[in-house]
Amino acid sequence: MPVVRLRAPLSELAGGRRELELEGGTVRDVLRTLEDEHPAIAGWILDERSTIREHINVFVNGERGREDTSLAADDRIHVLPSISGG
């Protein structure tokens, strides 16, 4: 299964886990599985439109991914805040 890596505060919402194996064929599927297993994280990465929030970056094996990016079983997904801010 794809592996998702999280940092605080997202990892805290996922039960303190920084790395999780999650089922799904796309980035959106995997993030939905994450929400199902850890409901506290719902709304923090995907918004109501099932869109990755504007200032969050998702990387798949080091490359920028989007909601519909396809995943293989051994893919690694990093969820990171962007470098925007003020």
């Binding site: 505060p9 990465i45 918004d47 109501e48 869109t51 200032h55 969050i56 925007s84």
Partner: protein
């Protein structure tokens, strides 16, 4: 001892002190996150904060101790699978039934809770207003910032939205209608003013002892309604204000003829006029305004005070008034504006001020 809840660009600050002296920071929560608004519900003692993370979206958190753990409230979201997402939460207001509170947000949405703030539901009739596709946001987004309840009657509500005007309900939010007659949007051509929906309300408050009376700071204009928001009369022209542009507004709950505003120079120059910080008070329902600046910066002070950054406690001659600026300064008065003191300086830009 007065406790202030100051929402800032970089977290929530709880300050404690007495009128006339500097206040002490006793708690900071949501470090680094924009806190748009925070209140303490006087009925339950519970604190509620609207936090809009740039990364993780808008949330409401609740606690019984602002220095302790905060719990995320649930249900503050738009319908899944739609074309819009909730962008920001601007206001939280206690309702007229036990456990009932309202929250207003961007894009022009109203939420309700009946359990004191733990779980919320979208007001669907307002979300499904047929004219919604024609609505336009103000510079701060399409923010539903003013929620005026009717003391003792939970069925009657008035909403103020930038920039979709005033909305009224007589059935607890099941149906809604406009309340905009008399408002003059000088920022649209004269020939378009009668039909436009783009009415930029900046702040609106109902008087608790004469609830058919409301006061409003508009985007260029100060108004009063004596018929529960159906029609509005101009009280900002030739009445003694240096400008009729500004954001926040406060009333004295003991005096239905009272209101306080903090004028800014103009919509294209949103700072205190002439480098002087002054609050303006009316005690004759807007027929005249008097400057209240004793103790406030009187020169070289070009401050911006945002729409939720002016709060009060008590009433009458000893009413406390507190406001904050984007400069990070917070000012207070313990005598209804007659004299002022500096409560705090060097905070992050202030979004909201409320007395706990």
């Amino acid at each position: 001892m007065t406790e202030l809840l100051v929402g800032t660009k970089k977290g929530l600050f709880a300050l404690q002190g007495d009128a006339g002296s500097g206040f002490e920071i006793v708690a900071r929560a949501f470090a680094g996150e924009p806190v748009e608004f925070a209140i303490r519900d006087p009925r339950s003692g519970r604190y509620l904060a609207a936090v809009t993370s740039a990364f993780y979206g808008p949330k409401v958190f609740v606690t019984d101790d602002p220095a302790g753990e905060w719990e995320q409230a649930q249900g503050l979201e738009l319908p899944e699978g739609g074309e819009q997402a909730l962008k920001r939460l601007w206001s939280i207001v206690p309702g007229e039934e036990d456990g009932l509170l309202y929250a207003g947000g961007d894009p022009g949405v109203l939420f309700e809770t009946r359990d004191g703030g733990t779980t919320w539901e979208l007001n669907v009739p307002f979300w499904e207003q047929p004219t919604r596709p024609e609505w336009n946001p103000g510079a701060g987004g399409m923010c539903l910032h003013s929620i005026a309840t009717w003391p003792g009657d939970p069925s009657r509500l008035a909403l103020g939205i930038s920039a979709v005007g005033v909305w009224l309900s007589d059935d607890a939010g099941e149906t809604w209608r406009h309340g905009n007659e008399g408002l003059v949007p000088r920022y649209v051509p004269e020939e378009s003013r009668e039909d436009t929906l783009t009415l930029c309300v900046h702040n609106m408050h109902r008087h608790p002892t004469r609830p058919e009376r409301l006061f409003m700071q508009f985007h260029g204009g100060v108004y009063r309604s004596d018929d529960a928001g159906e029609t509005w009369v101009d009280i900002g022209t030739d009445t003694g204000l240096p400008s009729d542009f500004g954001f926040p507004l406060v009333i004295d709950p003991q005096d239905p003829d009272s209101a306080y505003v903090i004028p800014l120079t103009a919509d294209l120059d949103r700072v205190t006029p002439d480098g002087r910080v002054r609050v303006y008070e009316t005690r004759d329902a807007g027929a005249s305004w008097t400057a209240r600046g004793d103790g406030l910066p009187a020169e070289d002070a070009y401050l911006t005070i945002l729409r939720q950054a002016f709060g009060r406690e008590g009433a009458g001659e000893t009413m406390g008034l507190y406001f904050g600026a984007t400069s990070g300064d917070v000012f207070g008065s313990g005598d209804a504006g007659a004299t002022w003191f500096t409560a705090a300086t060097k905070l992050p830009p202030v979004h909201s001020v409320r007395v706990a």
